[in-house]
């Protein structure tokens, strides 16, 4: 803008070239964005079509527009759909609290304390991230069956309190390592123990990392299917992903319309939570060295 006063002719030409380039970039980006959005838009549009029409007329604009899938889908299963939403909410809330409490404490220990075998345990913790769930699911199932926890939310929540989500420990360790040690030392001189340093120094400063953990836990737990399928056996305990699966069956007819309608509903909370927490999410990732 400042150049405009000195050389209006050249600058306006340059401005024009710049405009065209930006226009092209924007067209490209918007086009690519729409391409990425297409499956989502397709689901949204299909949720308003009668089931029989979905695959016969797979275009984006419905021939017949009907909101009936939403009312039908809400009550199609044994329990109304909000029952499953509530179950999911309990599991998600428990997991978030568990991860925030468990992982932050474990991360503090790895980042600030000195103890024997620290490097080894850190490596073991990292290794657990790499174990696929199928490897651990049977031993876990046996353990929880012995405890009588099958078909309760406990196997999905209690382990989180014990800091079993290695990824979040790692994320927070990286973050806490970035905080100046001088603060801890100053607090120590003032007479703080570890507990106080943890709660009054580290935790308030780690807000972005905690927010990132909460958001990711929300999204991953809300969308998690396999462990919820295995541990929750009776329909009144089903969460949203497991309930959605009961619409589908490859060997018989699937009620696609209601399924898509309820999938749109299930997307709502994730979308909302992401929108609300997006600011922290970016901050948290940008400052933890995981880029």
């Amino acid at each position: 803008m400042a150049t405009e006063t000195t050389a209006p002719a050249t600058s306006s030409r340059r401005l024009g070239a710049k405009r065209t380039r930006r226009l092209l970039i924007h067209i490209g980006l918007i086009g690519f964005g729409l391409l990425m959005l297409y499956p989502l838009l397709w689901m949204l549009s299909s949720s308003f079509k009668p089931t029989a029409e979905i695959f016969r007329a797979p275009g984006l604009i419905p021939d017949t527009f009907t909101p009936g899938n939403y009312t039908e889908g809400w009550t199609a299963l044994q329990f109304p759909f909000h029952h499953y939403m509530l179950n999911s909410a309990i599991v998600v809330a428990g997991s978030i609290i568990g991860n925030l409490v468990g992982c932050s404490m474990a991360a503090y220990a790895f980042a600030r304390l000195e103890f024997r075998g620290k490097r080894l345990f850190f490596a073991v913790m990292l290794a657990t991230i790499m174990l696929p769930i199928h490897v651990v699911i049977v031993p876990q199932y046996i353990l929880f069956a012995e405890l009588g926890w099958i078909n309760t939310f406990l196997p999905l929540i209690v382990p989180k309190l014990l800091a079993t989500d290695g990824f979040f420990i790692f994320l927070m360790v990286q973050f806490i390592r970035g905080l100046p040690k001088d603060l801890d030392e100053a607090a120590r001189i003032d007479g703080c123990g570890h507990v106080r340093i943890f709660f009054q120094i580290i935790m308030p400063l780690s807000l972005p990392a905690l927010a990132t953990t909460a958001i990711f836990t929300f999204i991953w737990t809300w969308n998690d299917f396999f462990s919820q399928l295995i541990f929750l056996t009776s329909p009144d305990m089903y969460t949203v992903p497991v309930a959605l699966r009961t619409f589908v069956d490859s060997s018989s007819q699937t009620s696609w319309g209601p399924l898509f309608a309820m999938s749109v509903v299930a997307l709502g909370p994730v979308f909302g939570f992401f929108l609300a927490g997006q600011r922290y999410l970016v901050k948290g990732i940008a400052t933890t060295g995981i880029k």
Partner: protein, 442 residues
Amino acid sequence: MHAHPGDGHPRARRRSTLLPLAATATALVMAVTACGGDSGAEDGVVELRFSWWGADDRHSRMQQVIDVFEAENPDIQIVGDYTDWGSYWDRLATSTAANDAPDILMQEERYLREYGDRGALVDLSEFGDTLDLSKIDPLVAESGDLDGQTFGVASGVNAYAILADPQAFEDAGVEMPDDETWTWDDYVEISEQISEAGGGEVVGTQSMSYNESGFQIFARQHGENLYAEDGSLGFSQETMAEWFGITEQLLENGGQPGAAESVEIEGGGPDQSVLSTNQGAMAHFWTNQLGGISESSGREIELLRYPGESEGERTGMYFKPAMFYSVAASSEHPEEAARFVDFMLNTNAAAELTLADLGLPANVDVRAHILNSLPEADARSAVFLSDIEGTIVDGNPPPPIGAGQVVEITKRVTDDMAFGNLTPEEAAEQFMSEVEAATGGS
């Protein structure tokens, strides 16, 4: 930072920060436990878990059956536990490994031996007083027997057949074949004619080699079978090469969609078959899928016998046990579980609710009872099944352990052949060696 060293104050404050946290956690744990299922048997009522797969329509039917059963048997309470086909086997494998399988469960041909041989299922013939097996259709009566033990009882019967859209035949100006006499050559020729008339919009038939059930019919027509009694392969390489050769001819003459398109169609299941989308005249499906496909196509789809039934040395079509009822060996109340299986199998009340959803009922009396109340498409399936019943020679032996993997092998080999990487002979060879490896290669 207004804390001072050594005045005892910080400790008190520390506790006050921790306490609410601990309290929240405890409250949460308690809340969560309170919601949990209670499996204890109080006041003499036995609680049983019953597990099945399916889509939402089946779930609500089953729940109604359970309600009727509970009203008649106040000493038993059934908790339904259901999900879709794929997840069902994941969950069953996990819970069986942990000795925590549901008391009553649905089984399928391809998995029955796997669970039966490992001692995970109860021999149902032991419950002769509770569970009456005398009325079961003789063509599937022994389909759940392994080494003299009954690990599963067939819920109903289906047959693998060709579904044809008369409208598509008419549009193409091609006569519907006489399904009692048509040959495999007729099948290839008719498909080509329809594709030519369809001008790229409508094809003659959907690829048939993605499902080994069709090959089983073909092998039986040649006096062979997919598996022998002992679970080894029951067919010759020539027969299978001939089978894949038919698909190759159809790919060449355009009677079926090209390789890439076939993969896509196959991935979509019955809802995206060429019949459902009105883009083809024929497809291979189970008779119980007629209703759904008719509905999604919006047309009156008809059932045809497999080609070559009068061409080979014998007929190849068979009744397949649609599903099995099994009782888990880990169940604490097998006697009560057998009572429920008896109810599902032998009462009109149960069949009036499930109708043909679990196959056309295996109990012949019950089948006759519901015949008139079936929906239109299912009624036509029933007529078709009784028409072919007289031509069926025998049942099939239970598939070997690992037969569940054959589905994937069939798809992979078919793809390789359709894309031109394998000749029909090579495809047959690869199929045989892969299936032998998967099923323990006896």
